[in-house]
Symmetry: C2
């Protein structure tokens, strides 16, 4: 990493010099990576398993705000959200490609910060950077990542396998990433009014981390294997519980009852919601970016799952004719509302 | 395709409605595509062969100008340039993912035009669209495509296998895409001054097509198989012959002599160059975007290759100590100049 005080312009290095500098610290760790960065394409080998592939595009001002998102965190998160999609197939991520388009405002040192976050995520999840593209843009930063993973054929979990009476479960807790974002935006507004104000972030480290440094739940995939569980359907929560539950129901041709008072939320999420006069349920249902796994298991798996601290049973699947409902604490069933194109729209 | 006179805003459909509409006409054709669009990730199966993966990011105003590039052509070209990278490994493309970021200026009908070009390329090259991301941007259009292909392990051709005395060969002809771009830019400038002027494009259909609708040379990969040729090194010409020849030399640890008067150029390329007072050699060496294949073969393959109209032998490899030289028609050797970050910089 360069000295923070130096500012090298990208044109000094040229495209190929920049790529060399950005990728020099990356090493490959997976046997399935035959050839990584440095040719027209990467070569992978997947003779034993099936190949899982997913891609995401993040644009400045829509998916991230560089006023309060450090570049290193952004790099980490961009990788994390893609690995999360691989995990949602019950698969293990192995490789990524990273493409970036940069406007003139970015120095080599800034791009190195971004790549240091990408590298950190690659190391934590034992994923290899095998390719990409580095180019220019007229405005802002765009990051496109494609993740590749592997899975045994009979271990693949689609969105479409849920059956009536299956238990609806979620990993971790929800709403934290959204409340972290609200906090960051509040402090950013304060800062814009008075640059001498210090941000008030103390006591909210968990929700800030949920927003700035989400983790794909690769550990949950391992837990499934240990417990001998294969979910009947699964999706990761990028757009909010409400939207994802509807995807599972629509793909599987079933309905569901989701119990409001079962939805797991952290203390900080609730506290921040109270402070900002937001219903924390809105954060959990529609906030998104929690990157937890939402999945269904047959009722027979109840014993395997009930005592695991990673999981919360939040409802059950029904016949499609019963609809997709949120059951309130008072016991009344309210149809869940569809959310479309909301992901990122306000971010 | 919708009526050209209607303009549906993307927010009317929502993200998922848009994706459904864009992908409804795509069918999968390859046995290696187990699950395409519609889940968190696609599932592919490559038990017999190795997987080749490459990615590109194109941004509006840098890689394309929508003033004179029709969206359908843009979609086609975005796919073509990625498939070209797969071909450059001596591999066969099979799948793509397509991510786009759109600003508010794009209607559903405009995005459908883009996808009609993507679909045309998928059909022509028998490639399956298996995933992607559709999101918004603050300004302009960004397209990121990842291409996946397959190759037998012992058929892979890297940039690094060239040896001294190997023949340096190129498919097709060079410089056309660059001269097509110059023509389009000239007519665009005229149009900006006087909107009633009709563009003067007659007689230049070939170079326009080279710029607007380049084709990846998948046919050349088939020809190699038929002729029993495995190149010792290969790269596709995206940045210009000069830059690509230097990549081959650098990766292989060799030098080369490239003969100026052997470089294949079309009549229209030379004619346009003359009209614009540009040295056509500059177009071939530094123009880029021809997406032809530059490769080396052992001298022993001379008999196999010499009469094939698809190929031109333009030079030979040397010891690294001899350098990377352009041999002029007069017989003098001039060191080739490095080109960096030029691709797209002026486009």
């Amino acid at each position: 990493m360069g000295n923070k005080n130096t500012r090298t312009s990208i044109s000094e290095l040229g495209e190929f010099g920049l790529i060399d500098r950005l990728t020099q610290n990356f090493t490959t760790k997976n046997g399935s990576t035959i050839k990584g960065v440095g040719d027209d394409a990467a070569i992978l080998e997947y003779r034993e398993k099936q190949v899982v592939i997913s891609t995401d595009l993040l644009t400045e001002g829509v998916h991230f705000n560089l006023m309060y998102v450090p570049l290193k965190h952004l790099g980490y998160k961009a990788v994390a959200v893609n690995l999360s999609d691989i995990c949602a197939m019950n698969a293990t991520p192995r490789q990524i490609t990273v493409s970036i388009a940069l406007s003139g405002k970015f120095s080599v040192e800034a791009v190195e910060e971004l790549y240091s976050g990408i590298q950190l995520a690659c190391e934590k999840y034992q994923v290899d950077l095998v390719g990409g593209d580095t180019t220019s843009s007229l405005t802002g930063l765009t990051i496109s990542i494609t993740a590749v993973g592997e899975v045994e054929k009979d271990e693949i979990v689609y969105r479409s396998g849920a059956k009536p009476n299956d238990l609806l479960c979620v990993s971790g807790d929800l709403g934290g990433a959204y409340m972290g974002l609200q906090l960051l935006e509040r402090e950013n507004e304060v800062f814009k009014v008075n640059e001498n104000m210090q941000p008030q972030l103390v006591g909210y480290d968990y929700i800030l981390e949920r927003q700035l440094k989400p983790e794909p739940r690769a550990d949950i995939i391992s837990t499934f294997r240990k417990l001998g569980i294969k979910p009947s359907s699964m999706i990761d929560i990028s757009d909010g519980l409400s939207s994802e539950a509807m995807h599972l129901c629509k793909s599987s041709g079933v309905g569901c009852n989701l119990f409001e008072d079962k939805i797991p939320m952290d203390f900080q999420t609730k506290k921040m919601a109270e402070e900002l006069s937001i219903n924390p349920l809105v954060a959990a249902l529609n906030g998104g970016e929690d990157y937890e796994l939402l999945f269904t298991v047959p009722l027979d798996d109840y014993e395997k799952i009930k005592n695991d601290p990673d999981f919360t049973i939040i409802g059950h699947m029904t016949e499609a004719s019963e609809g997709i409902n949120l059951v309130t604490a008072a016991g009344s069933a309210i149809p869940l509302q569809a959310q479309g194109w909301n992901h990122g729209a306000a971010k």
